[in-house]
Symmetry: C2
Subunit: 418 residues, 2 copies
């Protein structure tokens, strides 16, 4: 069987399973998720053995330490995956909710009811824990799923998906609901991006390169996730102690994630009061600093920032800093370089707070808080499948409702159209 | 200037205008729409003159009568376009609505606010009235628009868009909000579908060929609209008089549109009672009938239906008819051939009504009513930019809210993440 036939077969069985999954009782889905969590834990040894194979191959091929860390599974990480599945089971089921219903003058009653998207494709990289997370969230929202993880993690992914599939089917999830593409060749991704017949959406999860490839080449609708060139603007009227606390947290608490700050913008009226202590604190914390000419006056360690710096998501303890004349220059800079993920202003001015929230175009716009809060759990959604930086369908942290669509149900008594 | 430079320039000015349009007062937008309507009517003669050029060229190039009719503008049709703009002005402004706001345990207040999509691309065919409709709806929802109409209508489209742009700008709409691509070459469409830097979404409007081309080739997110292979299933317990009325209306009232029925499915228990009179009535009305073997027993004019018939949107007075054993066979047939637009059951059975609405996967699922009601105005939305047959972002008739996105606004008092 060619790889295309294998993928078409998985597509067809996923589509068939999706038809049944769409109206499966929440209790069946929840019991399945809980059984899947138990089975993951029970099979920890087998998963670790599979992961050891991946790790050995990865070490031989010279993968970086950062990538090796993403690939590594431990007993604790497997317990974390199981816990994630149990939390997903505990979330409310979005399917079947009726967000609205109304009556037309001709007597027709029209309702809008939440339904699953159908079949969701996930294309991701080295993290094997995405396998369990994505399967859990997609199933809970009534969707079938086709996964394509990075080749480095193939043994781990096969082990995890088989264990989860077996537990799911034993608990009443239709056969074909969970599918892992086991072909590690790049051509499998190319083919997947053209599987409009079977896939309702593809969600890429990973680095900027992967996401760009999927956005540019997929004919299946895509939800773009991820990259975050986030800014914090310290306004003229900012409480400077608050500003320092927020700006430090936004950069230093977890620099490798998308909601961390990459560029600090400072109103020139407070630059002399704010920057010396702020830059000193960053420098002490090991942050490499790159700044505009004015910024460089306040600390000797600040390297000159290039045009490229303003557009870069460092994913690291590196920060670019710019002194601006006013809120307009700050918002113009943000408009030019932002990836429209998360943006913050620190201010005590009512009108500037309002202007910033209204005029800045991003998934999340903060006043007097750290951008690090853009996250499904922190927003109160319980779990997330990613953070959308596009405007279509979903924006910001995507929870279970973002994995659904709606349909109109129309109740009549014989109405015909004139 | 190359055509790519021209298009990039329009993209950049649209993006700039979108930033201002996003928070323009509703009153300014409404007054502009009303001024645009007046200006269309005042310039009727100029529009008709431009349209006459298009009509002459189209006749010379041998366009079909159906296409010539779509291309033709009359005084009444221009008045209709103006009326459409006035109705759009009267609709509630979706921008700025806050569908939800909540407080987190750490004191952060998080709100979800409706914002425009940004820059919307519309790719359409010969109908010049789409130019005015699309401009009106996009502007009202706070979006800039880049239009690319069919080459046959280029003179009409240039005239309409210039008149509307002038009136809009005089009424306070930012320069660059309305853009028409005047290059009629196909390569302009190819380039537009890759303008991710400037366009937030492309909505294709037209025939199945155009829509397929855009879905398959656009890297800009697409909302798929249109094609409708719609079914009506007459169940065993149907009120047969009601079923005849609905099935006749669904096929005959306007066969050229996407919500009309293409295939009638009849439960075999009522075939002998229902089909003779039904087929006679269709035949009298000039409907060409194509049926399964069982159907052909009930009227001599029924031609044999081929596999292709079940998958065809006729856009014409042609109907395929199939006798099925039960609701399961009906739903299997629908699942196989439906384009997931509109599907109807006629039944008196509570459980079958419920099953059909729950299990059939389509934008609109009817019980005891004609599929012809799937329409923005009939649903009570006031206007529509198209009917989405995809599940991402929007499904079914798309009104003003479907031309918007959301963003999260977060109010803090110095919160940082642990």
């Amino acid at each position: 069987m060619s790889f295309k036939q294998e993928m078409d077969q998985k597509g067809a069985q996923a589509k068939k399973a999706a038809r049944r999954l769409a109206f499966l009782a929440s209790s069946v889905k929840n019991q399945a998720l809980s059984a899947m969590a138990d089975s993951l834990e029970k099979n920890t040894a087998a998963i670790l053995a599979a992961n050891a194979q991946d790790m050995e191959a990865a070490r031989k091929s010279g993968l970086s330490n950062a990538l090796l860390d993403r690939l590594l599974l431990t007993e604790a990480r497997i317990a974390g995956m199981a816990e994630g599945l149990r939390q997903t089971a505990a979330l409310p089921d979005p399917v079947g909710e009726v967000p609205g219903m109304w009556k037309r003058p001709n007597g027709l009653e029209i309702g809008k009811i939440r339904v699953p998207l159908g079949v969701i494709g996930i294309i991701y990289e080295a993290r094997p824990n995405v396998t369990a997370d994505a399967i859990g969230l997609c199933l809970k929202a009534g969707n079938a799923v086709i996964l394509r993880g990075g080749s480095e993690a193939i043994s781990s992914n096969i082990a995890i998906s088989r264990i989860l599939t077996q537990a799911a089917e034993a608990a009443g999830i239709p056969q074909g609901a969970i599918n892992l593409i086991e072909i590690t060749d790049r051509s499998a991704v190319d083919y997947m991006m053209k599987m409009n017949r079977y896939l309702d959406v593809i969600i890429p999860r990973g680095g900027a390169g992967l996401i760009r490839t999927v956005v540019e080449n997929s004919s299946v609708p895509v939800i773009e996730t991820g990259s975050g060139v986030c800014h914090t603007f310290v306004d003229e009227t900012a409480d400077l102690a608050m500003a320092q606390s927020i700006a430090f947290n936004a950069k230093v608490s977890r620099p490798g994630v998308c909601n961390s700050m990459e560029t600090l913008l400072v109103h020139e009226a407070v630059a002399a009061d704010f920057l010396p202590a702020m830059l000193f604190r960053y420098h002490e914390a090991g942050v490499e600093l790159r700044g505009c000419e004015k910024t460089r006056l306040y600390h000797p360690a600040v390297l000159p920032a290039t045009e490229e710096d303003w557009a870069t998501e460092y994913h690291d303890l590196i920060l670019s800093v710019k002194v601006v004349n006013n809120i307009d220059e700050a918002m113009d800079h943000i408009d030019l370089y932002s990836t429209r993920h998360s943006e913050a202003i620190v201010t005590s001015d009512y009108f500037n707070a309002r202007r910033f929230q209204r005029e800045v175009d991003a998934a999340a716009v903060y006043v007097n808080a750290s951008t690090r809060f853009t996250d499904g759990a922190e927003f109160g959604f319980g779990a997330e499948i990613g953070i959308s930086t596009q405007k279509l369908h979903a924006r910001g942290p995507m929870g279970l409702p973002e994995l659904t669509s709606i349909k109109y149900i129309v109740f009549g008594d014989g109405q015909i159209r004139e």
